[in-house]
Symmetry: C2
Subunit: 108 residues, 2 copies
Amino acid sequence: MKVSNYLETEATLELPGVLKREVINASDGAPNSCMRVFELEPGSSTPSHSHAWEHQVYVLSGNGVVEGLAGEREISRDSVVFVVPEEHHCFKNTSKETLRFICVIPLQ
Amino acid sequence: MKVSNYLETEATLELPGVLKREVINASDGAPNSCMRVFELEPGSSTPSHSHAWEHQVYVLSGNGVVEGLAGEREISRDSVVFVVPEEHHCFKNTSKETLRFICVIPLQ
């Protein structure tokens, strides 16, 4: 069993204004999926892209939008987002506070 | 893409004082894992048990303990817990507020 605070995991700067922490991954013995925590600074966004794997997202704090095939949807604390495989998607922080969310993906 | 608030998902009473919501599951098209949100009322706990699959847990609010092979560890908001396959584990709310956490498991 691993017990930690998410801040104990080293952060990597994925893009300007976008921090990522892999809080549970294969190095912990995870056999199936990886749990990451993202922090987007105000005005920042993830690239609009698609890939073969899905995203399971839970918003921890902040406000923003997620863009998918059906357009933009607002997200805030306690929002749940499921991005299906191959769907174009993009997360944007449209607020003045950090947008923080969990994103679980299958191990590649 | 599915976007919702976790409260929009119907809750089931798993045990006295233990609510479960499957906020992302196979019915949403999830191919690999299931995201659940648990709410434990003060004094409540999940049973001490083990199983072949792992847990990826993120604590959203409240305080409590998780019991594993190495004994009890305190958990609170932003705690991350990885329970390895076959490990005995038990979550307990030791506070006076609801203990709320995400728990991701592989699809069975």
